[in-house]
Amino acid sequence: MNSIDIELVSVSKSFGTISVVKDISLQIPKGEFVSILGPSGCGKTTTLNMIAGFNQPSLGDIRIRGRSQGRVPPERRNIGLVFQNYALFPHMTVADNVGFGLRMKGAARSEIESGVASALRSVHLENYGARYPRELSGGQQQRVALARAIAPRPSVLLLDEPLSNLDLKLREAMRLELKELQQQLGMTFVYVTHDQEEAMAMSDRIVVMWQGVIAQQGSPASIYRHPASSFVADFIGKSNILKVVGTSEQEANIDLRLSGSATSLRAKRPQHSQQVRFCCVRPEDIVVLSDSGEADGRDVNRLSGTVRRVVNLGPSLELAVEIDPNVLLTVLARSALSASLPAVGDVVALSIAPDDVQVLPE
């Protein structure tokens, strides 16, 4: 389980004078679902194309199952790839599409038939073999593309934003299916996406890329709870990112003075000794105190502010609370406190546990 399927060793890629991927090193263990997540232009697709073999790294080495790929062409890498636009062969039936890989490898007819049947079964399209791709819906075409990629049993499956052309409902259903499929097959999935929700929902590990470098990698939970930079904090989920102008350390804690404000926030003292430039607080970690008199004696940040905006999201309320003219916090409050829903103009008391204030060096 712990053997490494794919390894990138100091890989860089430039096109002309533009360097798109800068000195990336990455290890992807066998059987993991890894997402490469980042905004468009961050180099994630280029990275995927280098793993597939469509692009050669300008510097560095790509190893698949320990073997340096050097000039190994894509057709000999035994990798599957699901394209964003599906790229199904329009002149072939679904069954011929799915069986293409096995056919090209010269598999026996019976082997092709059983491979096609089992691949179609795993994407729930058993009865669609005789159809042509144009006779299918977008979601079905996506499944065929998936079946085609897994039918030759590659050790690694690369997915290039495979769900981005589907509507929201379908996308959410497909997330779960993809994850189940990956676990069933025990295949290594490398999933490229700009959609952080998708990455959070499916991945064992997320690699956040930004401007050609890896900004952070780790489990979805650790990236969400402990973003390494204000970029990651902002890109993954919603975040209040506040600029810090000064700090003073207090035993296990650190007090952060916020830019342009008299307010200061107490946070857990970080392990590293880097200068603190920003801090971030997730909207759902800010507690709206229903009664300003409430005090539970814990060491918490207490703030009060005026509600400037209320958005009802159904299960929760999103509030914009102005602490002072330079600090506007987004707060996610459960609608359960419906007894007294805050309204615009109300003054509310907030509390934030120091554990929930993340200090960021950049």
Binding site: G80, N85, A87, L88, F89, P90, H91, G101, R148
Partner: protein, 267 residues
């Protein structure tokens, strides 16, 4: 105002269509003419002129024309696909120059080409080449630009992600060309080949220099015949070859499905 424009437009359209189709209608009517002079009397008609077509006088030129046109269509199809592949798909070095060379026959008048070919053949002592071989070669030169253009457009519209998909599924270059590229551009190739067939089958200006007496193509036979007589047989020949061409187009369309250019495999 608008209705006036619309009426004018319709009138013009009708006029253009009439200009194209009426002569054909006249030829069709003439081919059923009851007397050996070309007349138009729709209440009195005969199909006997069509019987005359099944004589060696017309059948032999027809067979020769078909043989040449089929050869031209196949050979220019093969050369055209290879040339367009090299120029548009692989973008080999000097591909732009190669493309203009391939398209250059378009800019030389056919009469000039015909004279040039005859002069060239006699200059290098290959007069024996005149007749069918010269006709085939000359028609290929003439048809090639059309085939290359058609195939080049198909290849330019080919979604290269399909090739990548084939590649990552383990298909070699040869397998990808055979199983992915060629089926995808098939409608373009077949419509190019249809053009080549028709260009060859109907050609007069070039063929007139290259045929050998007594062994002429159908259009040349028609021209020769017209010098001495204008009769309903003539009209029947034209109607028959028109029907033949339509049948050929229909056949190619059946096989290639031009109408399914985008998606291929219309069945």
């Amino acid at each position: 105002m608008n209705w006036l424009l619309s009426v004018l437009f319709r009138l013009m359209l009708t006029g253009v269509l009439a200009f194209i189709t009426l002569p054909i209608a006249v030829v069709i009517a003439a081919s059923f003419s009851p007397t050996s002079a070309v007349t138009f009397r729709p209440w009195e008609w005969t199909a006997r002129w069509y019987g005359d077509l099944f004589s060696d006088r017309w059948l032999l030129p027809f067979v020769l024309s078909v043989k040449i046109a089929v050869t031209v269509s196949i050979v220019s199809g093969i050369i055209g696909v290879m040339a367009a592949y090299a120029v548009v798909y692989e973008k080999i070095r000097g591909s732009e120059v190669l493309m203009s060379v391939l398209l250059s026959p378009l800019s030389v008048p056919q009469i000039v080409k015909g004279v040039a070919i005859v002069l060239f053949l006699s200059l290098v002592g290959l007069q024996s080449f005149l007749g069918t071989p010269a006709l085939i070669a000359a028609h290929i030169v003439l048809a090639l630009p059309f085939v290359v253009r058609m195939v080049a457009t198909s290849i330019a519209n080919f979604d290269r992600n399909l090739d990548r998909a084939g590649q990552i599924l383990g298909a070699s270059k040869r397998q990808r060309v055979q199983h992915i590229l060629l089926p995808a551009i098939r409608p373009g190739v077949l419509s190019g080949m249809t053009f080549a067939f028709i260009i060859s089958f109907n050609n007069i200006p070039l063929s007139v220099f290259l045929v050998r007496p007594g062994d002429t193509t159908l259009p040349i036979t028609v021209i020769n015949y017209l010098e001495y007589s204008l009769d309903p047989v003539m009209a029947a020949v034209n109607v028959a070859s028109m029907i033949f061409i339509l049948a050929v187009i229909y056949l190619f369309e059946k096989v290639g499905g031009f109408s399914a250019q985008l998606y291929g495999g219309s069945k």
